[in-house]
Symmetry: C2
Subunit: 413 residues, 2 copies
């Protein structure tokens, strides 16, 4: 057995135990973990300082340094997050659609854990505790592979949680950390079939691509967002401006922010000057029609349509019909979040029906695609793929189903 297989076997060994724990027990484990993180705050901060020092020596960018940094307040936030997960309803054990067959068999579907979940993520130590809480609540052992930048923090957080669990007789191996950070280990992790049942990569497009290419384990991709807003000819233009302003600028650098507008040609002349004014500080790159209307618009090139800027830049494209808008969006989007601004009933419905994305909006900002905003209470990521889970993933998306069948001697004829 390799070192990683041994780790996998340890996770598998507690899978059954975790799967049959009651919600009360699981919530008690979460409470222990949250309290331990608060009690041992100083140790965690010290470990985090080591990471920060190393990061500074490696001349890491300030934005990344900030994501890496823990403070007393942030640790309290992490503990609070664990308690919020404890307060959520436990999806495990729920029975869906119990139906009686003509032969008397009663067939239902019961929500069960998925099994061992592997998560590969980059330098944000809060993910370590979040991921543990969501997986523990759903009865799934979790093996984490964090970024090397946050290794000291991650090791300490994992140690604190494991100690807290073990101290009260809970299986500490519910939470395991891969400490090695070389490529070979990551690759072996992706092929730990038989030990890991689901792999969730969270991070750069490059990381996700590598997981998809190499993994022999089922993967849920949490992809990037090239999100569009289509302003229809019937749109309330004031509403459109408010929504676009919100979706573009309320938070730059997140996957559900707006990267591209599609405008019906009949409104371009009226709308673009107002847009330019409202989006002061945002670079606008438009097609020919858009450029004609305002000297503040730069000409867009083909590459712009497919780019997730994560910056104060917005591309704008003109279309003659809603069909053209739909086909443009379906071609260039990353299947994340798309919105139409319209007063027209039929166009609203057509957009909802025909756009291929995890979340399709009418008259609202794309920024709402988020587990908390959708009412899930917590989120492990946003899936931009179509299998198993699509859109924000909460507790329910970390579960599987099994058929349970009550008989009284039935045999097949």
């Amino acid at each position: 057995m390799t070192k990683l297989e041994t780790l996998g076997a340890r996770a598998k060994a507690v899978e059954h135990r975790l799967g049959i724990m009651s919600s009360d027990e699981k919530n008690r484990g979460l409470l222990l973990a949250a309290n331990a993180l608060l009690d041992r705050k100083e140790e965690i901060l010290a470990a985090n300082r080591e990471d920060q020092k190393r990061a500074e020596q490696n001349q890491i960018k300030e934005a990344l340094l900030d994501r890496l940094r823990l403070t007393e307040e942030r640790i309290e936030g992490i503990a609070e997050g664990i308690l919020q997960v404890a307060a959520l309803e436990d999806p495990i054990g729920e029975v869906l659609s119990m139906k009686k067959r003509p032969n008397g068999l009663l067939i239902g579907q019961k929500r069960v854990p998925i099994g061992v979940i592997g998560i590969i993520y980059e330098a944000r130590p809060n993910v370590t505790a979040d991921a543990f809480a969501l997986c523990f609540k759903t009865g799934n052992p979790v093996i984490l592979k964090g970024g090397s930048d946050a290794l000291s923090s991650n090791k300490k957080i994992v140690e604190v949680i494991r100690d807290a669990l073990a101290g009260e007789g809970f299986p500490a191996d519910a939470l395991l950390l891969i400490e090695a950070s070389d490529r070979e280990t990551t690759k072996e992790f992706m092929r730990l079939r038989g030990y890991v049942d689901l792999l969730i990569p969270r991070g750069s497009a490059g990381l996700i691509r590598s997981v998809v290419e190499n993994s022999t384990i089922p993967v849920i991709e949490t992809g990037s967002g090239n999100c569009h807003i289509y302003v229809d000819e019937s749109a309330d233009l004031d509403m459109a401006l408010d929504i676009i302003h919100n979706a573009k600028t309320q938070r730059i650098g997140v996957c559900n922010s707006c990267e591209s507008l599609v405008l019906h040609k009949s409104i371009v002349e009226r709308f673009v000057p107002r847009l330019v004014e409202r989006l002061d500080g945002v670079e606008i790159r438009g097609d020919e029609e858009v450029c004609k209307v305002s000297k503040y618009v730069l000409p867009a090139v083909e590459e712009d349509w497919g780019t997730e800027y994560l910056d104060y830049i917005l591309s704008v494209r003109t279309v003659n019909t809603i069909e053209e808008a739909i086909s443009h969006i379906n071609r260039y989007n990353t299947k994340h979040s798309e919105s139409i601004i319209t007063k027209d009933y039929f166009r609203a419905e057509q957009f909802l029906n025909e756009i291929d994305a995890a979340a399709v909006y009418v008259n609202a900002s794309t920024r709402f695609t988020d587990g908390l905003e959708f009412g899930f209470g917590a989120e492990i990521g946003i899936s931009t793929q179509k299998l198993h889970a699509r859109g924000p993933m909460g507790l329910r998306e970390l579960t599987s189903l099994k058929y349970i069948i009550y008989g009284n001697g039935q045999i097949r004829k």
Copy 2:
């Protein structure tokens, strides 16, 4: 573009059109396909005779030859199968759980097609038409890669269905066949990311393993079944014998037949002689306790516990407690179908809760794990994995969901 990429692009090109077809339209397409198969029966039989001739020359086993063979009656059965799919309720467009958020956003989940589905299967030409019907009904273009043994039959069936669709203005590229059967083509198919959204391998364990190892596309495995029946000390032994006889012998060679018994030690002495008598013609391989009771039982070796015989052979193991039974089954099963025979309420519930399998039964034969028996009307296979679909997969399992959100100007605070 390679030849396969061109095929993928053709499927992608009709995806949108198929996705927005009404149920009426889709049912009309299925009716056309069924009628065309009946009208052009002679051509199909002629093509099938070519396959049979080639198979005979290759000295293929009689069982396989039988699976390959088409008759007038079998073609009628295939057409009838397509009509049955037409009669099923269309899952596409169903909206689940529409909920109002505090900010007034109305958020629901709508059932949508998955996209292009790839299916790799072995020599059964009926799968060609079945798979088309299920995918067409759910608005998914399908690319088939059948076994080389059935190539002439598959080509003809696909031609007939495509002609029927094209003749009435339906997109013929809803159904595409990969004709090349070399390993390189199959491997390229598994990596046709961007063109194929889901890959379903149906066939030998070797095929499935190869797909899992090589695919960069999400896969749903339709695995093998090492199914157990546990006879508890409180069991009605007559019922146990009936169920075991049914699960073992009603149809040999299917994945939901029983391969292994687990007996509570307290019933071994009474039960094994009756079992041996009832399963006349079945070779029984038991552990030491079982062998002691009957001279007709052969000694089992370790390998027996993990073997799916698909034959008139049954392994039998003794346990001291239900916990031991559960742990034995969870260790050796293939997560397919498991059953307990008991009169005890708590043990029934414990078995349902703790066994890790797609279908867990109390007092019934494992043979019921099947789309028709579960009331789905049709089945594309039985998933033994935990993501997206588990157990028999009907129309619903060939769909995805997207969030649809109705707003009236909401922006995120």
